[in-house]
């Protein structure tokens, strides 16, 4: 395929991230091409969220390169990166608890012109009818599943080319996890490129094209999702044998 000579949408090259003196990410490299679902799996504390937070600009790598759409975004700051077309739906959802569902979504569209907001709101409400019902409700009163939908809807309000999801299934009942993954597949079908961080490795690998396995700050295994799914080391460590 021609993928090899195309510049990837996101290219992370040998990044090192520290928390104070703790070396949390020790040279992680990976790529996400346009139209893919790529998943980053690994145990608790392996550095998955740290990696996403670094890509999104919330954390700054001490070394290494991150480029998005061919442009370096290291040190750019999260608020400017969003406007470039990258959205992170953060771990733990982090919806604005004291603001209404609608206000949360409006904040998601902060970087976009005011006249485009109504149409985007409609799109999000069409995808998540539950949010329309709860439009005027304060986000803190929503259930966990609804908050996850709100967090995803809010991220979509910025019309991202690349949507990064950090543990979208965390703390949700199995039926809701299924729903969330259905939505991920729909978004992908609608042309959104997705970088997915998950603890539920089985689920993540079942929807992804490619996967990277992160073990204490380093990529240990990578390849097509199917290949990773059948890797003995992965099976032993993350899929329960």
């Amino acid at each position: 395929m021609s993928e090899n000579n195309r510049t990837p949408l996101l290219k992370v090259d040998d990044i090192h991230v520290y928390y104070g003196s703790i070396h949390a990410i020790k040279g992680v490299s990976f790529e996400v091409n346009e139209g893919e679902i790529v998943t980053l799996i690994g145990a608790n504390g392996a550095g998955k969220s740290t990696t996403l937070n670094t890509v999104s600009g919330l954390l700054k790598p001490r070394m290494g390169m991150i480029s998005f759409k061919g442009e370096s975004i290291v040190g750019m700051g999260a608020s400017r990166i969003v406007a470039k077309g990258m959205a992170l739906c953060p771990e733990g959802r982090r919806v604005f608890q004291q603001m209404t569902v609608r206000e949360n979504l409006e904040m998601g569209g902060f970087t976009r012109p005011a006249e485009e907001i109504p149409a985007s709101l409609e799109d999000v409400f069409k995808r998540f009818p539950r949010l329309k019902e709860r439009e005027k409700q304060v986000a803190g009163t929503l259930s966990g599943g609804e908050q996850q939908m709100l967090a995803m809807g809010r991220a979509l309000m910025s019309k991202p080319t690349l949507l990064m999801l950090d543990e979208p299934s965390m703390g949700l009942a199995p039926i809701l996890v299924e729903q969330i993954f259905d939505i991920i597949k729909e978004l992908h079908a609608a042309g959104v490129t997705i970088l997915l961080v998950e603890q539920n490795a089985q689920m993540a690998l079942s929807v992804a094209n490619r996967a990277y396995v992160l073990g204490t700050g380093k990529i240990t295994i990578s390849g097509d999702a199917e290949q990773v799914l059948n890797d003995d080391r992965v099976r032993a460590a993350y899929l329960g044998g």
Binding site: S79, R80, R94, F96, E103, G108, F110
Partner: protein, 294 residues
């Protein structure tokens, strides 16, 4: 009865000034999670600017107030940028001590520029007075204006934070800076804006305060500043309606306490009330219970 009404109205007027100052404390606390102890001194600077504009430059009062607002807005943004922003990741204690330092800095600058001799603040506004009960109860221009200004500011701020994009962004930042940044909100700029608004309000408060209590000196802002801070805590720090309610209640308690209990103990009474309220409602009257984020 008439005298009680007079005290009550005076209390509401003084409370309105506290409320306007308390808004600055509470908005800054809400968004930057810091106590800006220099806020009271910004009031003093505002009052001096208005004083100079009227007494030396012979500008009309309204222009003088606008000038004071512009200067204080700039001052607030500069203080935030130079003194507090570099400490955004620092320990809370470091920020607090810096704020105290800024407070002394402003007082000493004022001492240098305007000396310690008290200035007599000119009567700023004359919108006429209201006479009730056959002239037994006179409500002065200053009182009317202070109360009206308070109501207008309250409505304007409520509309700003509830309806405008930047106002909503401000609420988003005060809830979760990281998430707000992920929305594309420039957190530093939003914090600057909050300081700007708080400082502009401080200028208004300074003029209103000195219109009713016309002795102006470099320490003029400290005591009202501390009381307004108390009002903000009383109402629930971080809450805009809380600052309003706290300010008004504090003003009324202070004036009624001075009138009916003891002039000397008026201030002590104010703080006694604060302590009692905090014993029963640690988050203040309208404050939300703290849920510290990890």
């Amino acid at each position: 009865m008439v005298s009680f009404l007079r005290f009550l109205i005076n209390g509401i007027s003084l409370g309105s000034v506290y409320a306007i100052i308390a808004l600055g404390y509470t908005m800054v606390y809400g968004i930057a999670k810091m106590l800006n102890f220099a806020h009271g001194d910004v009031i003093m600077v505002g009052a001096y600017i208005a004083f100079c504009a009227m007494s030396y430059m012979n500008l009309p009062p309204l222009v003088a107030v606008l000038l004071a607002m512009v200067v204080c807005t700039a001052l607030g943004v500069v203080i935030e940028g130079l003194a507090y922003r570099p400490l955004r990741q620092a320990a809370k204690l470091a920020v607090l001590i810096t704020a105290i330092g800024v407070s002394y800095f402003l007082q000493n600058m004022a001492l240098l520029i305007w000396s310690s001799n008290p200035k007599v603040f000119p009567s700023v506004f004359n919108v006429g007075q209201i006479r009730l009960f056959d002239g037994n109860l006179v409500i002065s221009s200053e009182t009317i204006l202070t109360i009206v200004a308070n109501i207008v500011i309250m409505i304007a701020l409520t509309l700003f934070t509830g309806r405008t994009k930047m106002g909503k962004a401000m609420r988003a930042v005060s809830e979760d800076k990281g998430a707000a940044e992920l929305m594309g909100i420039n957190v530093n700029r939003t914090i600057s804006l909050t300081f700007a608004i708080g400082s502009a309000l401080a200028a208004i408060a300074g003029v209103l305060l000195c219109s009713s209590y016309p002795t102006l000196q470099p320490t003029t802002g400290s005591m009202p500043g501390i009381k307004a801070f108390t009002a903000a805590v009383f109402g629930g720090i971080g809450s805009i309606p809380g600052a309003m309610l706290g300010g008004l209640l504090l003003g009324v308690i202070e004036i009624l306490g001075k009138a009916y209990i003891s002039t000397e103990l008026g201030d002590a009474l104010v703080f006694a009330v604060l302590i009692i309220v905090l014993l029963f409602k640690p988050a203040g009257l309208l404050g939300k219970p703290m849920n510290e984020k990890v």
